[in-house]
């Protein structure tokens, strides 16, 4: 187990340190110190971008892990629960109407993304309340339905907007890490640490939740209350993250899955591995996105899905084979 840790931590640190140096403009130590322009690219563009990628990637992965546990379903992700599409609708709406309210100095698009996610959460919870069931089935089903509904609204808006807006909408929908400044990072960091902290505090509850409702009750956990509370908190955080980077798929599905395979015996290790690998995966794919076809940047969402889907099928096959 120690070897696995060292491997993940080691590659992590190396990747994170190297990534800002590589790109269309190569940067070495000398130019970093002597050249004003390269030092600007390094410190003002690439470093914050790497940090944003890491925060977003590990938050998406962690959200996936938590959703899987509280819904006892390895396919529960930000996508399947409709939170992503709500955020997407909010952002698309903002682009269409050219809305630009800024909030605490942040771009207004983020706020619309967050509001969209809130609408999703509200709708899912209302449906659950009407049918008087906060079961996995209700939440997943209403999430899927909301997903479809919002997706068609997004397509309608896409038809109505002009060409440049369509491009920025499509780019956002695929998911990509746009250059940000430190203001955004400073806004996200406390949220990120809060997210990680509560996950560790709720470790035991998350384990018990994954073992089923009757099990949870017999061990003294009010699973219905727990599930709803955690669902709301995580969805709030997701709404914010997604409004920054777009609905990047697959990270919330693959990373928890790999972590579970690597660290079967310990949920705490699974959490740590999910946080680190989620962050690394997104920073690394973002790095690929901006270096594969320079100077064109491919939206990172394409790469995560392109690598993610086959890789996921590979893992699925090998783990199912081992089980039988």
């Amino acid at each position: 187990m120690n070897k696995k840790y060292i491997l993940i931590f080691g590659t992590g640190v190396i990747i994170l340190l190297l990534i800002p140096f590589v790109g269309v403009i190569k940067i070495d130590f000398n130019s970093l110190l002597s050249n004003k322009q390269t030092s600007f690219i390094f410190w003002q563009l690439r470093v914050p971008r790497t940090i944003l990628g890491f925060i977003a990637g590990s938050s998406l992965a962690l959200a996936g892990l938590i959703f899987q546990n509280i819904f006892k379903n390895s396919l529960a992700t930000p996508y399947t629960l409709g939170v992503s599409s709500g955020a997407a609708l909010g952002v698309v709406f903002a682009i269409k109407l050219n809305l630009s309210i800024s909030f605490l100095g942040l771009n207004g698009v983020y706020i619309y993304g967050f509001l969209g996610a809130l609408i999703s959460i509200f709708l899912i919870l209302s449906i659950a309340k009407i049918v008087k069931s906060f079961s996995i089935y209700t939440l997943l089903m209403s999430g899927v339905a909301i997903n479809f509904f919002f997706s068609s609204l997004i397509i309608i808006i896409q038809y109505l907007v002009d060409f440049t807006q369509t491009i920025s909408i499509i780019r956002w929908l695929i998911g990509g890490i746009t250059p940000v400044g430190y203001k955004e990072i400073l806004f996200l960091l406390p949220l990120y640490f809060f997210f990680i902290t509560i996950t560790f505090f709720l470790k035991n509850e998350l384990i018990i939740a994954s073992a089923g409702d009757e099990f949870a009750y017999s061990k003294g956990l009010n699973i219905k209350k727990f599930r709803i509370t955690v669902f709301i908190i995580v969805s709030f955080i997701l709404g914010i993250i997604i409004s920054f980077v777009g609905p990047i798929g697959f990270i919330g599905l693959i990373v928890p899955h790999i972590s579970r395979i690597l660290f079967k015996e310990n949920f705490k290790s699974i959490i740590i591995a999910t946080i680190i690998m989620g962050g690394l995966l997104l920073t690394f794919t973002d790095f690929l996105a901006r270096t594969i076809m320079p100077p064109i940047e491919i939206p990172v969402g394409i790469i995560t899905s392109l690598i993610g889907a086959p890789f996921f099928i590979f893992i699925l096959i090998s783990s199912l084979r081992n089980r039988n």
Partner: protein
């Protein structure tokens, strides 16, 4: 001691349980039986606090269970489900430790004492080789053993079982029965829902026969033909006799 007073429970207009009155003394060993849909599992779920919108009152040690927190209930009562099926990989160690969850306070991890109890139970149940494995990779009998051990770690006085013998092979059935007797000798209150009457009749103290949500009989009269026939519509001899090739229904 559990006291159930005028307990009724409906789902929409369908009556699941009707006017149940029952007193379960400490150290009693109860078998609850009855045809499918009699309300047996519902009764267990109400005792456990999963279902709360029932009519009537239930007291455990003279305290209304609605006034207990879930953790307080879990210090007294534990439940073993019919199937131990887990959709996600789950480490045996973590299942066992969750038996200490009722004793933790909010946002606190398990204490040294909790780990000592855990280690002792692993020794006692000889679970060393399973501790770091995913429970989904164990056999039915082994899973049952792990779940029992987690109840043991929980240190409850009342244990509810829902069809504990399903999918067990004869050896596992015999082991489980021996363990139940051991629990009984240790003064635990056991409540078992089961159709496996032939296994349990020799060991239980009292029976509760349920049919369509109503009590047919409750008490210590074990081998009574009429009770049996009334509950299941099957002749008792037919089920218990040694050459029971056919179980026929009267109707």
């Amino acid at each position: 001691m559990i006291e159930i007073k005028n307990l009724s429970y409906n789902i929409k207009k369908k009556k699941i349980l009707r006017d149940i009155n029952l007193k379960i003394e400490d150290g009693d060993f109860w078998l609850i039986f009855g045809p499918n849909g009699a309300g047996k599992t519902t009764l267990l779920k109400i005792l456990l606090g999963v279902i709360t919108d029932y009519k009537g009152e239930i007291f455990i040690d003279n305290k209304n269970i609605k006034k207990n927190t879930k953790k307080e209930t879990a210090k007294k009562i534990s439940y073993l489900p019919q199937f131990e099926e887990f959709s996600l990989p789950l480490c045996v160690k973590e299942i066992l430790l969750s038996g200490r969850y009722p004793y933790t306070s909010l946002f606190k991890d398990y204490s040294k004492n909790d780990f000592t109890i855990f280690n002792n139970t692993v020794d006692q149940f000889e679970l060393h080789e399973f501790v770091n494995r995913d429970i989904n990779t164990l056999s039915g009998g082994e899973r049952k053993k792990v779940m029992l051990a987690s109840t043991f770690i929980q240190n409850v006085s009342i244990i509810l079982f829902d069809e504990p013998f399903t999918f067990l092979d004869p050896e596992a059935i015999s082991n489980l029965t021996k363990f139940l007797i051991k629990l009984k000798d240790n003064g635990k209150t056991l409540i078992i829902v089961s159709h496996n009457i032939e296994i349990l009749f020799p060991v239980v103290h009292k029976i509760l026969a349920l049919k369509r949500g109503e009590i047919v009989y409750s008490g210590s009269k074990l081998f009574d033909k009429d009770i049996f026939k009334q509950t299941y519509n099957v002749n008792y001899e037919q089920l218990i006799s040694k050459n029971r090739e056919v179980i026929y229904l009267d109707e």
